[in-house]
């Protein structure tokens, strides 16, 4: 494993060994003060230098960024036993978001967020722009893919109990990301401005309006007025491509930070190995056996403690 690590990580990114822990590499030069060995041809020297260029570039950057510690910690972090394909759903959702962001940027180059021109600009994208239908299709179907993946990811987190201490905050951030994803799906639906999106948005806004007291004002806010009008489309467009994506990117950053910081959980069917230290069960059995203590003993035995929390609570 360490060989593979050495092969992947460039030398400047490796952790520096403590002095004295590595064996000396061959005999030391007999006289350190002699001049360096004579250079070979110019070509050889250049090639030699060129070989070192990538490493030197990375080293130059790392001296200024100090990112190697963070990157090795993030990319080579330990994962628990039993980690399986279900753990890729979060990355899959992230990938779906990246697809949406990329295709969205290129769609924005051709789309006109105006009530009178939106439909025509989408027709133009679909029928005349080279690969336009393909990119539009990726964005349209990709949105459904992202919604499906984010729900599967949430289900995995729920059924594996991965929302428990100390990861509650990451669950909360995830719920906000889910709401923002639904907001993206809702606001994006209006943008083609055909019959389907027009009536779907009217129904969606009216469902928002059925909330007591704040509902009517929320509808007016979404529509920018009492009726769906010209500003509704630009409002949805601004929410869809400026407001919510910014929030999603920021929250994905926080979400990933916490994943790296806290690590992932093992699946619930993976039991923790028994500690090798002297068994507390035996110690407690030797002592006074009242019900309180027995409860603790049972708690200890049952604690699967795959993230160490069960054991500390006992």
């Amino acid at each position: 494993m360490s060989k593979l690590r050495d092969a992947i990580i460039p030398a400047p990114l490796r952790k520096v060994a403590k002095p004295g822990t590595t064996p000396p590499k061959g005999p030391a030069p007999s006289d350190l003060k002699t001049s360096p060995p004579k250079r070979q041809g110019d070509l050889d020297a250049t090639l030699e230098k060129a070989k070192e260029a990538p490493v030197e570039t990375v080293a130059w950057l790392d001296q200024r960024l100090g990112a190697s510690g963070f990157l090795t910690g993030m990319l080579f972090r330990k994962v628990p036993k039993g980690t399986n394909w279900f753990y890729t759903l979060g990355s899959a959702t992230l990938f779906a978001f990246i697809v949406q962001a990329t295709t969205g940027v290129f769609l924005a180059m051709f789309y006109t967020p105006s009530a009178t021109q939106a439909y025509a600009s989408i027709s133009h994208i679909n029928n005349e722009v080279p690969l336009g239908q393909f990119v539009h299709g990726m964005h349209k179907w990709g949105s459904s893919v992202m919604v499906i993946l984010i729900f599967l990811h949430m289900g995995r987190t729920f059924f594996f109990g991965a929302y428990k201490y100390p990861r509650e905050l990451n669950w909360v951030i995830g719920v906000v990301l889910l709401i923002l994803t639904m907001t993206m799906a809702f606001t994006g639906y209006l943008l083609p401005f055909d019959q389907r999106s027009f009536w779907a948005s009217i129904v969606g806004i009216n469902i928002n309006g059925t909330g007591p007291i704040v509902g009517p004002y929320l509808s007016d806010f979404l529509r920018a007025g009492p009726e769906l009008g010209a500003t509704t489309l630009s409002r949805f467009y601004a929410i869809h491509m400026l407001l919510v994506p910014g929030a999603i990117i920021a929250l994905i950053g926080a979400h990933l930070y916490l994943v790296v910081k806290l690590g992932t959980t093992a699946p619930p069917w993976v039991k923790a190995e028994r500690p090798k230290i002297a068994s507390p069960v035996a110690e407690l059995e030797a002592g006074a056996g009242n019900g309180h203590v027995n409860g603790h003993v049972n708690g200890y035995e049952r604690a699967d403690g795959h993230d160490g929390t069960g054991a500390t609570s006992a």
């Binding site: 009530a115 009178t116 401005f193 027009f198 009536w199 009217i202 129904v203 806004i205 009216n206 469902i207 309006g209 059925t210 007591p212 007291i213 509902g215 009517p216 004002y217 509808s219 007016d220 806010f221 529509r223 920018a224 007025g225 009492p226 009726e227 769906l228 009008g229 010209a230 500003t231 489309l233």
Partner: protein, 192 residues
């Protein structure tokens, strides 16, 4: 209070003011439409003689300007009927916007009912709900006669007894305590 503490509070206050100077106008800009009421507009939909008492005539007029066909509204218009104990000499303009979630309803001549295609809402000849999920009767538009022409104006909602109230969005109940749970919005016109 120490000098350090006074300066801390002072600089935080200035930072807060600077932040508010950016955030408040932006938020105000976004929520301003809630408090803005557009100009009242009236549109001619046909001469008085076009409309009768016992059936509706469908008219299409512009409710929201600047967005082409999307800003058009459909209303069903008839003369008020003495048989239905309505004030004589008026014109009734029923909106085709379903009171459930806003789908377009259609007047079905054979049944004498308004029927919604989306979730099966049914309304009687006067627009009262008689079936399906809608929560109140169909909305109406104000009407008036100018130079022999019927004109339609702002929208208003009605209670189950057909008493006019300020326009509500679809899905919102009217009358009684609902007038407080779904408060009237400043962007709508007062009921006639």
């Amino acid at each position: 209070m120490t000098r350090r503490r006074a300066l801390t509070i002072g600089s935080q206050a200035i930072g807060g003011l600077a932040g508010a100077a950016i955030i408040l106008p932006a938020v105000g800009f976004a929520v301003a439409p809630i408090f803005h009421r557009g100009k009242e507009r009236w549109e001619k939909v046909g001469p008085v003689g076009d409309f009768v008492e016992d059936t509706y005539r469908q008219v299409v007029f512009t409710e929201t300007e600047g967005i082409g066909d999307a800003g058009k509204q459909t209303a069903y218009i008839r003369r008020s009927s003495a048989d239905l104990e309505e004030e004589p000499g008026k014109f009734v303009a029923v909106s085709n916007r379903c009171a459930h979630l806003g789908c377009p309803v259609r007047y079905v001549e054979a049944a004498g009912n308004f029927i919604c295609p989306c979730h099966g809402g049914v309304y009687d000849f006067q627009g009262r709900r008689i079936g399906g999920p809608p929560v109140r009767p169909l909305d109406q538009f104000q009407t008036r006669v100018r130079n022999g022409q019927v004109e339609v104006g702002p929208r208003y909602s009605v209670t189950n007894q057909l008493d006019p109230v300020r326009a509500r969005d679809p899905g919102e109940f009217t009358g009684g305590i609902w007038e407080y749970l779904y408060p009237p919005r400043p962007s709508t016109f007062p009921a006639p």
